[in-house]
């Protein structure tokens, strides 16, 4: 047990301090949301890549910094930007999901073409996985792609395509072998969002914002070589991508930051001349949540150590999405409770409007429900924990249910 940083990591921390001191003034404002990165953000991203504070482990041949993977380094870097409140660089689905996927299973040509522009922020990706009829059952995707004359012809519909309205490219899970069993009939394509036949419609959520889109495909032509791995291997590729998404969702730093924000608010706001933290029932709930966040924070350190050793965390990793999203919801629940009637007014017309404190908490609160559901609902997560983490048996096969297609 040693929580001190090694000499190498301390040196990195010092470099980061120097970098931030020198360049912070050039950084764009953190946040940003539903728009293409602007010129200032792109410049900042390029500077981060150059210094190895973004795309650090992407090989130099593909435009990255080419460092060996050292997850403690990554944690030190992330931490420095959070502490300083400085924009930590782009974090979009192209960078966090597509790039690692191409590095793992893409062709040399695909890596050469896409990784560099993606990590610099010049090419923005969106994800084409979920479908209205499939939900958590990703493998039930029905969007069809038929190979004809050197092109896949795509027809169907995707949902939850979050940046589709401004993305350049999409990575798409679709059914190319309709006669094969469900999981073996899928392929993973990449395509330009400018291809004719694609229609993007905004999808409003309970937050009041159109954070997502629905994307419709009508005879969309995708060159045959735009496939990652082979036909029928889409499920395998998609799971590589999802692995990286699941890591993102279970971030214990977010819990800690949220706890701090909540604690600060309860110490600041008053009701009837009394600080909220002086109200026993609110304080007690805060204390309970603090205990839980502490547990996940320590757990996060353990996961980091696993990763730094290249150990598969197994059960320890599988529980994070379910555990952390539920805890997030309970943190925001206490926040909106503490705000009481004064927190009820709510105007969220667009993401460009900066919300007041109450609105921000309510957006978080609603969005937390989305996070509990998204990327595999709690029921799916509990199946994964039970079956993969605890080795409990899967549901027996059903009579009268087609095992393959549905």
């Amino acid at each position: 047990m040693d929580l001190r940083l090694s000499e190498k990591h301390s040196a990195l921390q010092a470099d980061l301090q120097a970098f931030i001191t020198r360049y912070a003034a050039e950084a764009p404002k953190a946040g940003g949301g539903r728009k293409r990165p602007d010129a200032r953000t792109l410049d900042w991203q390029k500077r981060l890549v150059e210094h190895g504070y973004a795309a650090r482990t992407v090989p130099r041949a593909y435009g990255g910094f080419g460092a060996e993977l050292d997850v403690v380094e990554l944690a030190v870097i992330a931490d420095a930007f959070v502490q300083a409140g400085v924009h930590p660089g782009l974090s979009n689905q192209g960078i966090s999901m597509l790039v690692p996927t191409l590095l793992e299973v893409g062709t040399e040509a695909q890596r050469q073409e896409w990784i560099g522009p993606t990590i610099r922020g010049d090419v923005i990706w969106c994800q084409g996985y979920s479908e209205p009829g499939a939900g958590s059952d990703l493998a039930a995707a029905q969007t069809r792609a038929e190979l004809k004359d050197g092109h896949f012809i795509v027809n169907g519909q995707k949902i939850w395509t979050s940046s589709a309205h401004y993305a350049d490219m999409m990575f798409l899970l679709c059914r190319t072998e309709p006669d094969r069993p469900k999981h073996q009939g899928l392929s993973y394509l990449i395509l330009s969002m400018k291809t004719p036949g694609i229609e993007v419609r905004p999808l409003r959520t309970m937050t009041g914002r159109a954070e997502f889109n629905e994307t419709f495909f009508t005879d969309v032509k995708v060159p045959a070589e735009n496939i990652v791995m082979g036909r029928g291997q889409g499920w395998h590729v998609a799971n590589i991508t999802l692995k990286h998404e699941r890591l993102m969702l279970g971030d214990s730093n977010r819990l800690t930051q949220r706890l701090h924000k909540l604690t600060e608010m309860l110490q600041r706001l008053e009701v009837g001349g009394e600080k909220l933290i002086a109200i026993p029932s609110l304080r007690d709930r805060l204390l309970q949540l603090q205990g839980e966040v502490f547990a996940w924070r320590a757990h996060g350190l353990r996961l980091l150590t696993d990763q730094s050793r290249g150990v598969d965390s197994g059960l320890r990793r599988l529980i994070t999405k379910y555990g952390a999203t539920m805890l997030c919801f309970r943190l925001s629940s206490l926040a909106v409770d503490a705000l009481g009637t004064a927190g009820l007014p709510y105007e969220v017309e667009s993401e460009t409007v900066e919300g007041d404190e109450a609105t921000t908490w309510h957006v978080d609160h609603f969005y937390d429900i989305g996070l509990i559901i998204g990327g595999g609902s709690s029921n799916i997560q509990k199946n994964i924990i039970g079956e993969r983490g605890l080795d409990l048996p899967r549901e027996p096969k059903m009579i009268g249910v087609a095992a393959g297609r549905n």
């Binding site: 979920s130 209205p132 499939a134 939900g135 958590s136 059952d137 039930a140 949902i159 939850w160 999808l203 409003r204 959520t205 309970m206 009041g208 997502f212 706001l269 009701v271 009837g272 909220l276 109200i279 029932s281 609110l282 919801f329 629940s333 909106v336 409770d337 503490a338 705000l339 009481g340 009637t341 004064a342 927190g343 009820l344 007014p345 709510y346 105007e347 309510h362 609603f366 429900i369 989305g370 509990i372 559901i373 998204g374 609902s377 709690s378 029921n379 509990k382 199946n383 059903m398 249910v401 087609a402 095992a403 549905n406």
Partner: protein, 364 residues
């Protein structure tokens, strides 16, 4: 011994539900809710005809002369349909305040207008509900000054009722000089809250003498019960919709309601929610007929139903999966209705505090 709604009460609730489902299908709800004032003139007039606004107004003033239990039965129907209509404050609390504190002349002046749907009274509390935000009001003779946030049913009011910390209540016209009402759209587009600012506004004290805080507290109690009833209705709709969705939606080759994960989630909701309905009835009946238990049950029903409502809202949304999170099914109107009810007139923490005071476990 008979613990149930009467035939009349049930029928009135059903006719309200029927009317509202008819007049406020999802597309109409979106349209009516969008302004966020909690008021739609067409709907209001229809409900006037059904007799909603005069429910508690004595017959001699054109109302039905009924009690809080009747109001609770109505509120369950309003919550069940997320109705865009002022009720808990403007109809129930304002009427009860006039009945319990007002002079005969004041009752004669206002109650017929309430029953006829011509008077809508927003209600604000200075203290007492544990609300966050400013809440102070002082009376100088008959001149009211101060600032009160979180006033209810004040999206399109004709009058305002302000409850003072000493147990008195005062009425002013919403358009009087020295009165400013800023109504805010809330998370729940079906009901607004308002900030009231008074600068020496002419005000009328209800009753000739101060009847003490107990009378006004009983008005607050009734409001809490009615909001709890609204939550039971809204939560029941969320449960019903989750069950219907679970029977229809297939994943992994099965209707999802056949998975224990989903089935047990629905069972949990039902187990929590079903006793809440009886609890609301008892609490409402206590307001009408069991004075010794009225306050404690009002505090407890608001707190407990608030907690159950939040759980049901979350679980139902989860059962709907991604569709529950989008705006497409409109499920969030009920989610937010429940969240609003939880906070208004005091959240669970405050209500339990009041329950402890009522039982002498702590001093106020």
């Amino acid at each position: 011994m008979e613990f149930d709604l009467s035939e009349d009460q049930r029928l009135f609730g059903e006719s309200l539900s029927g009317f509202l489902q008819d007049r406020q299908p999802l597309e109409a709800l979106r349209r009516m809710a969008e302004p966020g004032s909690g008021f739609d003139a067409g709907l209001w007039d229809g409900l006037t005809e059904l007799g909603l606004h005069g429910l508690l107004v004595p017959e001699q003033f054109g109302g039905a002369g009924l009690g809080v239990l009747d109001a609770a039965a109505a509120a369950e129907a309003l919550g069940g349909t997320a109705a865009v209509v002022p009720f808990a404050a403007s109809t129930v609390m304002a009427t009860l305040a006039l009945l319990r504190l007002g002079s005969p002349a004041q009752q004669a002046a206002y109650l017929p207008g309430i029953a006829a749907g011509e008077i809508r009274i927003g209600v604000g509390f200075a203290g007492r509900t544990g609300q966050t935000g400013p809440a102070e009001a002082r009376l100088d003779g008959t001149r009211l000054s101060g600032r009160i946030s979180g006033a209810l049913d004040a999206g399109a009011p004709t009058h305002l009722l302000v409850c003072l910390p000493d147990g008195r209540a005062v009425l002013t016209g919403a358009a009087e000089a020295g009165v400013s009402v800023s109504s805010h759209r809330t998370i729940d587009r079906t009901r607004p809250v308002a900030d009231l600012v008074f600068d020496g506004a002419a005000a009328e004290i209800l009753g000739s003498s101060n009847r003490g805080p107990a009378a006004l507290a009983s008005v607050l109690d009734a409001g809490r019960v009615v909001l709890a009833a609204d939550t039971v209705g809204a939560a029941q709709t969320m449960l019903d919709r989750a069950v219907a969705y679970a029977k229809e939606r297939a994943q992994f080759g099965r209707v999802i309601g056949s998975f224990q994960g989903v089935k047990h989630a629905c069972a949990d909701m039902a187990t929590m929610l079903e006793p809440c309905r009886a609890m609301v009835w008892y609490a409402a009946h206590a307001q009408d007929s069991i004075p010794a238990e009225a306050r404690l049950w009002a505090c407890q029903v608001k707190a407990h139903v608030g907690d159950v409502g939040r759980e049901v809202a979350r679980i139902s949304t989860e059962v709907h999966g991604g569709m529950g999170f989008t705006d497409l099914l409109g499920l969030h109107y009920w989610f937010k209705r429940i969240a609003f009810n939880r906070q208004a007139l005091g959240g669970p923490e405050r209500c339990r505090h009041d329950a402890a005071v009522e039982q002498g476990w702590i001093v106020a």
